[in-house]
């Protein structure tokens, strides 16, 4: 019945992109192994470490600091896992090959995954913001919220590039493990779980090697927390990581397609 109602639509590239993006989002939302950790872990950690066991001494404001850094931790996941695992599976199972053979507009594949990652990022931002303003007791000026939102939405880009690169190189069954081995240590070493100032000096020194560190600093800057380095340098570093991993992904996709 529904099928009759949607028959013979006008041909439009925009509709094609929209459907592609919608289905990419639905596909991952319906996969519990992706959706549950991605949407649940950031607010759960925030509740545990910023609300229940918050260290309320000194000038460290756990509620605001962790809002920024768990936000970054949260938005990394749709980029890394959303791209990494789904690209690896699509490649391995022949779905990517079929899509290349079909007359799909060439940009639709990546654009749909990017839209999916940004939509998940926006959801994670909204959930954390809700927790922070209610149980977290955080108050921030509107401009800070807007800045944080844009940092997190566009912050998914370098992680999409890294995910794409991993997905282009590794099998679908190995990808989740490999991504976790990158995701979790990088989050810790970038000061997303606890401030870098309380971590050993060597961790602080090598932090600029991690894309998550630069995004973390931008997010902390957005909510008025102390940061190290200039915002422009962090943006440039993230752009550099994005370009580098896109180039690596392109090479791997051509080789493994």
């Amino acid at each position: 019945m529904n099928a009759i109602a949607i028959s013979a639509p006008r041909f439009s590239i925009a509709r094609c992109y929209a459907l592609e993006a919608k289905h990419e989002f639905l596909r991952l939302l319906r996969a519990p192994s992706f959706a549950v950790p991605t949407l649940l872990f950031p607010p759960m950690f925030y509740f545990l470490f910023a609300v229940l066991f918050a260290n309320r001494g000194g000038d460290f404001n756990a509620g605001i600091y962790l809002l920024a850094t768990y936000g970054v931790f949260g938005v990394m996941a749709p980029g890394l896992f959303g791209f990494g695992v789904s690209v690896a599976l699509d490649r391995e199972r022949g779905w990517l090959t079929l899509k290349r053979a079909l007359p799909m507009p060439p940009g639709a594949y990546l654009a749909s995954k990017l839209a999916m990652a940004m939509l998940f990022a926006a959801t994670i931002f909204a959930v954390l913001a809700l927790m922070a303003t209610t149980v977290g007791g955080v108050t921030l000026p509107t401009t800070a919220w807007v800045r944080l939102f844009f940092v997190e939405i566009f912050g998914v880009l370098p992680f999409c590039a890294i995910g794409l690169c991993i997905g282009a190189m590794i099998s679908g069954s190995a990808a989740p493990a490999v991504i976790n081995l990158i995701y979790l240590p990088m989050s810790f070493l970038s000061g997303l779980w606890m401030p870098l100032t309380i971590l050993p000096g060597v961790v602080r020194e090598i932090a600029p090697l991690w894309p998550a560190f630069h995004l973390g600093q931008l997010a902390l800057g957005a909510v008025g927390q102390p940061t190290s380095g200039m915002a422009l340098v962090h943006v440039a570093a993230l752009a550099g990581f994005t370009v580098l991993f896109l180039a690596l992904a392109r090479r791997a996709l051509i080789r493994n397609a």
Binding site: I6, H23, L28, R93, G94, L102
Partner: protein, 299 residues
């Protein structure tokens, strides 16, 4: 000349493709003409998949030319006239059949009505199921639906009935016949020779990257003089096997089966040696025997 170009959907011209120092395709010429079903046959590694990949723009030829409706296969306009069912196309498990169909239909300017498409492919009752929950045969039917949903002028079917039961295979065959009758061309690659025999207007046989035979099913069969004799007889296979005209012989229960180039001679000898012989049958070689013979010659 102009006419031939107009009626040619897909063409390989002296197309070659090497992987390392192995020639997957060694300069072959192949045309798929409008409205015909061309079956591309060949043993594993003969170059069938490479030929399909070239025509769909999935791989680049290192030599010769590849055309899809007179254009490069990379041209979106050319591929909008094509439908594709590949050997392995595992779609996202969590998407519903309805969604997969809507998405693929959106790639085409004038797609088939979704309900009509589902009916032809026999998936009308599966539209709200998730792809990952379907059986292998149901998944193949969904893949077939996606292949035909754009009203293709040329349909690529790469081993379409692998994993289908007899009934589903027959249904896919009759849907394919209906499409050809309505004017679509089909390039079919298959392991099942009876599939080619049942469907093909024309057959092209590949072996080791070369085109070794091309023609109608009847022409290909006629290239092989072999015939098959079956009978119930007490004669020992070893005895029959020693006759000069006999290529091979084997016993299946009380039946004997003989392959020979000279059926008349062998039948005369059989009747002479065993007066109790009964249930005599003589058959011209099918495509299967012809195929074995042709690819053996090419080796």
């Amino acid at each position: 000349m102009i006419d031939a170009k107009n009626t040619c959907c897909a063409r390989l011209l002296a197309a070659g493709k090497r992987y390392g120092n192995i020639a997957a395709l060694d300069g072959i010429d192949l045309d798929v003409r409008a409205g015909e079903l061309l079956a591309l046959l060949g043993p594993n590694g003969a170059g069938k998949s490479t030929a399909v990949s070239l025509l769909l723009g999935l791989t680049e030829a290192d030599a010769g030319e590849v055309q899809l409706f007179g254009q490069s296969p990379h041209a979106l306009a050319a591929r909008r006239r094509v439908g594709v069912m590949l050997q392995s196309a595992g779609m996202p498990d969590t998407l519903k059949v309805r969604e997969l169909l809507a998405q693929t239909r959106s790639y085409y300017p004038d797609p088939l009505d979704a309900a009509e498409c589902a009916r032809i492919a026999g998936i009308a009752d599966l539209l709200d199921r998730r792809y990952g929950k379907l059986s292998g045969g149901q998944q193949r039917r969904v893949q077939f639906a996606l292949a035909i949903c754009g009203k293709p002028e040329l349909l690529f079917l790469d081993e379409p009935t692998t994993g289908l039961d007899v009934e589903a295979r027959q249904a896919l065959w009759s849907a394919t016949r209906a499409l050809v009758a309505a004017g679509s061309a089909v390039l079919l690659t298959t392991h099942y020779l009876e599939e080619a025999e049942a469907l093909a207007d024309r057959v092209a046989v590949l072996a080791r990257g070369k085109l070794v035979a091309e023609g109608s099913v009847r022409q290909i069969r006629a290239r092989v003089a072999q015939r098959r004799i079956r009978c119930v007889s007490a004669l020992k296979p070893e005895t029959i096997g020693a006759w000069p005209e006999v290529r091979s012989v084997w016993r299946d229960g009380d039946r004997i089966e003989i392959v020979t180039d000279s059926a008349e001679m062998v039948v005369r000898q059989l009747l002479f040696e065993d007066s109790a012989l009964c249930e005599l049958e003589v058959q011209r070689a099918g495509l299967a025997e012809a195929f074995v013979e042709i690819t053996r010659e090419a080796a």
